[in-house]
Each structure stands twice: as structure tokens, then as C-alpha cells.
């Protein structure tokens, strides 16, 4: 993975010093809160219900054991012993003191991490495929250009006061695990007939109040022109994006209101001018330098199957179940991708204690070439585990309540922090995730139901990604009481779709039964090996509506 050079180190440490100065000027009164707020946001510091919240960037969801251990240390020293992994592959701490944050950031810098641009109206963390470099069928490791985009967008002087936040995602695989069509810019790495690598660029996806699937703006941008193209999109947005209403200021609104054709014309016109200067063509030597950090680990030559593994599966049914649910085939013979569920039955989705983080760091260091990934579904991944080591890894995970065999199943819920933590929320989301998890606790039943992604947001900002849940739940506030609205048929992958609302919202008392009704409707109607989303796409919303509101 990427290692900082002196440029990177210097920029981060200067930024920490800059922020320390800004905090001092705020505390002394020299800076008003109104002037300080955009500065603290650009350093990832929010004010939430109970305390400040710090969002640490985990570029394209990749970290080393040393970096994960530092998160555990931060949780202990500056927070309350835990962190929360987010739907953008970052980590959040819910209780840091403002006056200690500069020290915290200084410690983060020692392991090449930061909280730069994790909030504010600027370009945010570039997210990517959690199976990068491990899964078969990848055109190119998407983290290479993710790192290039990260650098280009960091402290970009032109794009720091955008109309609104800006999120970029990259995938290098036909199966899109990065939800690129739900991003302001989504990039698909592809190859043309000549075998050249280039980029398909989608613009204007997003959730929030007005969800949109991104529109394809460019079919194939050659490698050398990627940054020029992105700069063109950003400049068009910065100059022409709406600034009169913050709910209408994302680029998705601009694409919708301007129209696809005109948007493409504006981007192409600006692209032609920027590209003419050739100033943004990254030197091949730099691409090579960065690519080298993402070279394949030195895999052993191993047989495709493992007797050790097979024996362990026969002896331990729970282990066998976990392998079936959470372990994914690796491109290299003898290896596997391990998914670590942070959704124990009844637990808080996406949270990990310092002890759990240390345990995962140890496993990564010993068994996974020192690499961990964070997924946008609030889980973790150990990307390169030998089949022979799976049982050992499982035992260690199990000992730390990290081996729930529910990947992609109904209890693998995404939930935003909601009204338990968040200033923007209208309803609590975590307790609902817990109740659903407990209602469907029986893993055999979960298997039978199969892949079913529930996503819960506590307000219309949709940080829980409810619009793209197979079942989406939106918490709303009606006269001070929490209600829950269900939507069905959303999807975040290459067949992206926005869910449709079923109708009247449900109360806290009736929502879990309603979810059960939706599930039963599916199991009653499914044909063959249809997953929930397949059945929904075949039968539509009506059968579910009828059952939900039958009375």
C-alpha cells in the first residue's frame, strides 16, 4: 500500500500545525465560530449531539496493522474505547475534545493518516472496491488512480469552497462494490479493444433528499487525461453549480437541471481547454512509482484446495457456515478473502472496540500481508488469507465476537449513527438495526432468506444509504415521535436502482413486524434461487404493498 514520501509527510504535518493554530485562535476568541467552522470541518471535526466527532480518512478503505493499532490507541487515549466504520470507508470517533484534537492529529500523522477533507464543501475521501488486488477479473487495481486522485484533490486551491461536498468512487471490476453510480463522480476502469486502460466517467449520482443514479459523461478517457477530465468536471460544477439553496447544490441537481447533453458539452468544452495545456498529465514515472506500492504481495505457490480447511469444516459446523457466508474466492490459488462482520446479533453496526481493532491488526499482520480493508457496508476485510490459515483466523475472530456469519444477509444491516449520536437526525436508527438483527437472529433462517441488504437512515440525508437498500428504512419525525418509512428494490451495485416507498410509515412498535411481512412476502413468492432483489424485480412493489397494508 501507499507509503508517504517527504512531500506527503510535510503536507500533513504542516496541516496539523495550521489546524493547531486555528484551534488556538478559536479558543482565544480571535476567530469567531462562524469563521472557524469551515476550517474545523475541513479537518474532519463535526459537532454532534453529545460531543465533537472526528472523522479520520482511510483512503480507499485500505490500512495497515500499524494504522489500525493507532485507531485503537486513539480510541483509548482520546475517546471512549471504540470507533465507528462508516459508509465511506472512513472511521469516526464520537467523543474527542477539541483542544486535544491537534495532539490526536499529530499522532495520526506518525502513521501516515489524517482527517483532511473528511468534511466540508470540498472533495472528500476517494472510495473504492474492498476486494481490490484480491478478486479475480479486475482490470486494474483501482487504488492506484484512487491515490492519484487523492493527491490531486488534497488542498486543491480552486475546489475548496465548492457549492457542496463532493464524493468520488472508483471500481476496476464488473461487479461494482464501490457504488460508483451513487457518487458525484464514479469511475469505472476498463480496457478498449486495443487493450489500453481508460476510464468510463459517470457524474451526478447521489442519495440524500433527492437520490439520483449518475449519468455516463465519458465512455473512455485515456489514462493520461484523467486528471484533466476531472478538473473540467470540478470547474464546471464550481462555476455553475447552484449556491442559492444548500439542498439543491450537489452536482446531481446540476446534471438533472442542466440536462445530460448540455452537461456533457460544458464538461467537454472545459476539458479541451485544460487538456491543451497538458499540465495535468501525470508523468509515467509517477504512475509507476505509485503503482509499485500496490504490487501484488508475494503469494506462495499453493494448491487450489486445502485439506486443513476441509477437515476443519467437517469438524466445526459453525466454522463451515462462516466460510460459506463470509469467505470469498481469491484470484490466487490457495488464498481467500475474509469478510469480518461488524454486525454481531444485537450489536451496533460498524462499531469496533479498541480490543477488537487490535485483534484484527494482529491477524492482518500475521496472516494477511499486513493489510485490512474497510467496506462501505461498515464491515472489514482481510484480503489475502491462506486457506490453511482460515480456521486459525476464524478462531481468533470468534474469540472477539467478530465472526458473525452474516455477510450480505438480513442482519448485516447498514445503519447511520442516527438520533443516538447525530445532530441532523430525526429518528434513531441503531436500535432498529438491533431489533431486526434479534428478530432474525437464527442464522439458518438468515441463510434461507439469502442475500438481503437492509439500510437504515435516521434522516433524509441518507448517510445510511437507505435509497439503495433492498429494503431501505428512513426514520422520520412526526410531531416528536419516531416513525419509519420503508422503501424496496434499491441497489448500489452495477445494476443501481433507487428504492420505491411502500406507503405509510410504521411506528417503532410495528416496524419490525413490517419487515417480517416483507420478508415473508418474498419467501412465499420466490422462484428457484431468486434473491430478494430478483423476486422484487420480477413481481414489483404491489404484492409487498398489499401485504404490508392489508387491513
Amino acid at each position: 500500500m501507499y507509503r508517504y514520501d517527504e512531500f506527503d509527510h510535510q503536507l500533513v504535518s504542516e496541516r496539523v500545525k495550521q489546524f493547531r493554530g486555528q484551534v488556538e485562535r478559536r479558543v482565544s476568541g480571535e476567530l469567531s465560530e462562524d469563521a472557524f467552522k469551515p476550517l474545523r470541518l475541513m479537518n474532519g471535526v463535526y459537532l454532534q449531539l453529545h460531543a465533537y466527532m472526528l472523522r479520520v480518512a482511510i483512503p480507499y478503505g485500505t490500512l495497515s496493522s500499524k494504522q489500525l493499532r493507532m485507531q485503537a490507541h486513539i480510541a483509548r487515549k482520546y475517546d471512549r474505547g471504540y470507533g465507528h466504520f462508516t459508509t465511506r470507508q472512513n472511521i469516526q470517533f464520537n467523543w474527542p475534545a477539541l483542544d486535544k484534537i491537534p495532539d490526536l492529529l499529530e499522532e495520526l500523522a506518525t502513521v501516515e493518516m489524517h482527517a483532511i477533507q473528511t468534511s466540508g464543501n470540498c472533495i472528500r475521501n476517494v472510495t473504492s472496491d474492498q476486494y481490490a488486488a484480491a478478486i479475480d477479473g479486475e482490470v486494474e487495481d483501482p487504488r492506484i488512480i484512487s491515490e492519484i486522485i487523492r493527491q490531486w484533490s488534497t488542498f486543491h486551491p480552486e475546489f475548496t469552497y465548492l457549492p457542496r461536498k463532493f464524493k468520488i468512487a472508483v471500481t476496476g471490476h464488473d461487479n461494482d462494490r464501490a457504488a460508483i453510480k451513487l457518487h458525484d463522480i464514479g469511475i469505472v476502469i476498463k480496457q478498449n479493444e486495443l487493450g489500453d486502460v481508460g476510464y468510463e466517467i459517470h457524474v451526478g449520482g447521489g442519495q440524500g433528499r433527492t437520490p439520483f443514479i449518475a449519468k455516463k459523461m465519458a465512455d473512455f478517457v485515456p489514462k493520461a487525461q484523467l486528471l484533466a477530465y476531472l478538473e473540467a468536471v470540478m470547474r464546471v460544477y464550481n462555476m455553475l453549480g447552484r449556491r442559492d439553496n444548500s439542498y439543491k447544490a450537489r452536482i446531481k441537481i446540476m446534471v438533472h437541471e442542466t440536462g445530460e447533453v448540455e452537461m456533457r458539452r460544458l464538461i467537454e468544452a472545459e476539458f479541451a481547454k485544460i487538456d491543451a495545456s497538458q499540465m495535468l498529465a501525470v508523468p509515467p514515472a509517477e504512475i509507476d512509482r505509485i503503482s509499485a506500492y500496490f504490487a501484488s504481495p508475494e503469494f506462495e505457490t499453493l494448491p487450489a484446495s486445502s485439506d486443513v480447511l476441509e477437515a476443519a469444516k467437517t469438524q466445526d459446523a459453525d466454522f463451515a457456515r462462516w466460510v460459506r457466508a463470509n469467505v470469498v474466492a481469491h484470484k490466487q490459488d490457495g488464498y481467500a478473502i475474509v469478510n469480518i462482520s461488524l454486525k454481531p446479533i444485537g450489536g451496533v453496526p460498524g462499531d469496533a472496540s479498541d480490543v477488537q481493532m487490535e485483534a484484527v491488526a494482529d491477524l492482518a499482520e500475521r496472516y494477511s500481508f499486513d493489510e485490512i480493508r474497510v467496506t462501505h457496508e461498515q464491515n472489514l476485510v482481510l484480503p489475502h488469507i491462506r486457506l490453511d490459515d482460515l480456521k486459525t483466523v476464524y478462531d481468533a475472530l470468534h474469540a472477539h465476537d467478530l465472526a458473525t456469519a452474516n455477510l450480505g444477509l438480513i442482519s448485516d444491516t447498514i445503519a447511520c449513527p442516527g438520533l443516538d449520536y447525530c445532530n441532523l437526525a430525526n429518528a434513531r436508527s441503531i436500535p432498529l438495526a438491533q431489533e431486526i438483527s434479534e428478530r432474525f437472529a437464527d442464522l439458518d433462517r438468515q441463510y434461507d432468506i439469502g442475500e438481503l441488504k437492509i439500510k437504515i437512515s435516521g434522516c433524509i440525508n441518507a448517510c445510511g444509504h437507505h435509497h439503495v437498500g433492498h429494503i431501505g428504512i428512513l426514520g422520520v419525525d412526526k410531531k416528536g415521535t419516531e416513525f419509519y418509512q420503508i422503501s424496496l428494490g434499491g441497489s448500489a451495485d452495477e445494476n443501481a436502482s433507487i428504492g420505491k416507498i411502500t406507503g405509510r410509515a410504521f411506528t417503532e412498535e410495528t416496524i419490525v413486524d413490517a419487515i417480517e411481512t416483507v420478508v415473508t412476502t418474498y419467501t412465499d413468492m420466490r422462484e428457484g434461487s431468486e434473491r430478494f432483489i430478483d423476486t422484487y424485480r420480477r413481481v414489483g412493489l404491489d404484492p409487498f404493498k398489499e401485504r404490508l397494508y392489508a387491513e
Binding site: 506527503d8 486551491p157 480552486e158 462555476m239
Partner: protein, 173 residues
């Protein structure tokens, strides 16, 4: 237009020789900044005027979308302009950063580009990188504060309108 600011130009506080004029008052020989609408209306006459001319580019207009004025509209007049004053109505409105870069890098404008309006301490360095060379600052701002702010981030990852090439390129010089 009353000027309640001090002018910072190329790193030094100085007297502003420019004045802002309204839509109607006849222009003197003093270096004068006028609106874009006035410039368009009186361009021919202004060409004959033998004195320095500047224009103010607004960032918010009367329309619902508040797009303001497009820097592209200045292109036909650049040969008669020595100064462009870019308005930043609130610090949140960052359109002017792009306007400055387009002026410098696409139109090769080499007159003064100044930032006017709500300009925060922590934006100065970025504005400088985008080609803004003068700042209308609150009277309370101290020179040392400004100088310090300019040097807080010494390097850059990406090129802009200044002479920094950017680390992605600089690494292989």
C-alpha cells in the same frame, strides 16, 4: 462604493489607487473599477479613455440560481483592462477561485486580480495559488498574520495559476 478595507498587494499593505465607480458617474482619470454591465454598455467610449480601467465580477446575481457573472464574458474586453476585482459575497462562495484561474491560465491576463468581499485568513494562500495578487482585507488584519498565512502550506500536490508544479510532477524533476 465606499471602500472599508486595506489593500494587500504582492505581500505588502499599500494605498489603493483604484476607486470603484457606480453605473452613472462620469469617470475621471483615476484608475477606476466599474461593473461588467457598464463595461459592456460603454466599451467603445471606454476604449478612447486614456486611463486605467478595471471591472468587478459579481458572484451572485439577481436570478434564483445566483450564478452571477461568467468570467468568459470578460474575454472581449481584456485588452482594455488592467484589473479584475472578483467578488466573494460570502467566504462560502468559491466561484471566484475558478474565475481567477481561467483569467490567468486560459486568457493569460497579467493585470491585477484582486479578491473583494468576505475573504478569510485561511483562504488567502489558496487565492494566491489561483492567481489572485491583491486582497481587500478588513482594516484589522495585521501584515504578519497575512505573511504567516501565506507560508503555512509550503508545497502543493497539483498545479494551479502560480508557479508550483505540484508534487505529482515535482517528484520526477
Amino acid at each position: 462604493m465606499p471602500n472599508k478595507y486595506q489593500l494587500m498587494r504582492e505581500g505588502a499593505l499599500c494605498q489603493d489607487e483604484w476607486i470603484y465607480s457606480d453605473e452613472a458617474t462620469a469617470l475621471s482619470e483615476a484608475p477606476t473599477i466599474i461593473s461588467l454591465s457598464r463595461l459592456k454598455a460603454e466599451a467603445d467610449d471606454l476604449r478612447a479613455r486614456n486611463a486605467k480601467l478595471g471591472v468587478q465580477l459579481l458572484a451572485d446575481g439577481n436570478g434564483k440560481t445566483q450564478l452571477g457573472e461568467d468570467v468568459q464574458e470578460l474575454e472581449p474586453y481584456l485588452d482594455m483592462l488592467s484589473l479584475v476585482s472578483i467578488a466573494f459575497p460570502t467566504y462560502r462562495n468559491g466561484r471566484g477561485f475558478s474565475a481567477a484561474r481561467v483569467l490567468r491560465e486560459q486568457f493569460n491576463f497579467d493585470g491585477e486580480i484582486r479578491a473583494s468581499g468576505e475573504v478569510l485568513h485561511d483562504q488567502w494562500a489558496m487565492m494566491r495559488r489561483c492567481g489572485i495578487t491583491a486582497f481587500e482585507l478588513a482594516p484589522t488584519v495585521r501584515l504578519e498574520t497575512f505573511t504567516e498565512a501565506m507560508s503555512e502550506l509550503s508545497d502543493a500536490y497539483q498545479p494551479a495559476a502560480d508557479d508550483q508544479r505540484g508534487a505529482l510532477w515535482q517528484r520526477h524533476k
